[in-house]
Amino acid sequence: MAMPQIKEAVAPAEPDIAVSTRNISKNYGDVEALKDLSLEFPRGQLTSLLGPSGCGKTTLLKIIAGLLEPTSGEVEVDGKAVTGPGEDRAFVFQDFALLPWASVLRNVAFGLELRGVAKSEREARAAKYINDVGLGGFENAFPHELSGGMRQRVGLARALSVDSQVLLMDEPFSAVDEQTRRKFQEDLLELVAVENKTFIFVTHSIEEAVYVSDQIAILLPRPSRVSEIIRPAGLRDKDVDNIRRDSEYLDIVDRIWASLRNYVE
């Protein structure tokens, strides 16, 4: 018996767009990673990027983060063109990118440290997020003492602690076990519901994408474009615990699998 999710029934004709990418192309030398990709990310919603390995999901995320320059095309956050990293975006890295010489506490507080937040305040805020991701008690551990899943959570806590409007998450749950993964997916749904943040979420898992997303962008292999946008709208108002049994959920999973299976040898 779980509480139904309360969500306001807002259906604006023109959704508020937080991030938009227009005609993005990215070449790495001769490799065309992205080609003429346009996609809009509605504010306060979670958009998944789903696609086969090597199709350019990380590349797109890094372009939105301002870490990579697109070969052509532009990214706008809140209507302003992106020229580099900004306070409005935080990144969860696929390979964690933790400082091996720093404790969990310092790693989580590192984003705040770089923003000039005083030590006592940033450590208090970091400690809160360390607890939130379930790493309480590991504040003074070093990354090499943690499992892959725990390291990933440190990266997650670091991104959450800077309180940015847009969260760019590159396969943030790929290294956690299935139970933790499900727990995180539920937490993520709750986070999306309570915070008016825009989540851009890369995943390999069709089930995960359908479970957590307001909008799923399916990318085709290189050179990548958006082949299809799916909005599992009906699911978002349903009880979290029953989503996986919902017929709409199963239908969407099947539909995505049908369109992706062509690209799997």
């Binding site: 990293p85 990144f91 010489w101 770089l114 090499h144 892959g148 390291r151």
Partner: protein
């Protein structure tokens, strides 16, 4: 527990070494090779009459100045070379040549230019110590994991913060191993300078006691410089652990 165990191992290996030395002195390997105990009693004698300390006061001057210069300037130049291709192109060859140059051949040149005083000796220490420090630092800086730099940039680090909070700490294990090699080389340089330029300090004890066939004193002086070098390297290790605890405990393997 582990500390006392590694301590015990060190003691055992020292005992084995000194035992072997003692036996080799008895055999004897060479009439010019004193036993361990003879050497130690010569060492104690020189310590008691103060001549050892007078000698070290002289030897430590170029050694400390040279190592300080090589350490600070060497690391700074190394970071610079590691960050900029242009600097790499300009300076790396100098240090590569310096590292492979036959020092003995350079000494007469140095003496001609800088005389036989402290300056020349400091130069010898620097020529020995600096290249390995510079080249190690540069290599480590160049090999900073790009994902860490990217992470710093994503969280709004300035270029300066990227250097001080990511590149330098990440390079520190290799910088410190360069420092250790540099310090060892610096010790060699200091003694070499005293043997080849003018016999002063510990170099003088070695030269003089050899000339009067007091081999026990000669080996005592050599032994003392090795002990000093080991102590210095241990202090350096303590400093590294103090500064970069997580690094020393080992890198995350992912």
């Amino acid at each position: 527990m582990t500390i006392s165990r590694s301590m015990a191992l060190k003691l055992i290996s020292a005992l084995v070494l000194f035992g072997a030395w003692e036996i080799a002195g008895w055999v004897p390997v060479s009439y010019a090779f004193p036993t361990f105990l003879e050497s130690m009693s010569a060492l104690i004698r020189m310590a008691l009459d103060g001549s050892l300390f007078v000698a070290y006061a002289e030897t430590l001057k170029p050694l400390i100045v040279g190592i300080a210069i090589s350490g600070t300037i060497g690391i700074a130049i190394g970071i610079w070379i590691g960050l900029s291709n242009w600097f790499d192109w300009l300076f790396s060859p100098i240090f590569i040549v310096m590292q492979s140059a036959p020092l003995a051949a350079l000494i007469p040149l140095l003496v001609m230019v800088y005389g036989i005083g402290l300056t020349s000796k400091v130069f010898v220490v620097c020529i020995m110590a600096m290249p390995v420090i510079v080249l190690n630092t540069a290599g480590a800086v160049r090999n900073t994991p790009t994902n860490l730099i990217e992470m710093g940039t994503a969280f709004l680090a300035t270029r300066f913060e990227v250097i001080t909070r990511i590149i330098v700490p990440s390079a520190s294990p290799v910088i410190f191993s360069g420092l250790r090699l540099g310090v060892s080389a610096g010790f060699i340089g200091a003694i070499l300078a005293e043997l080849k330029i003018t016999p002063t300090g510990v170099g003088d004890i070695i030269t003089f006691s050899r000339s009067i066939a007091d081999y026990a004193s000669m080996y005592a002086a050599i032994f003392s410089i090795i002990v000093l070098a080991v102590i210095f390297l241990n202090l350096l290790e303590k400093l590294e652990i103090y500064l970069f605890e997580g690094n020393v405990r080992g890198y995350a393997s992912d």
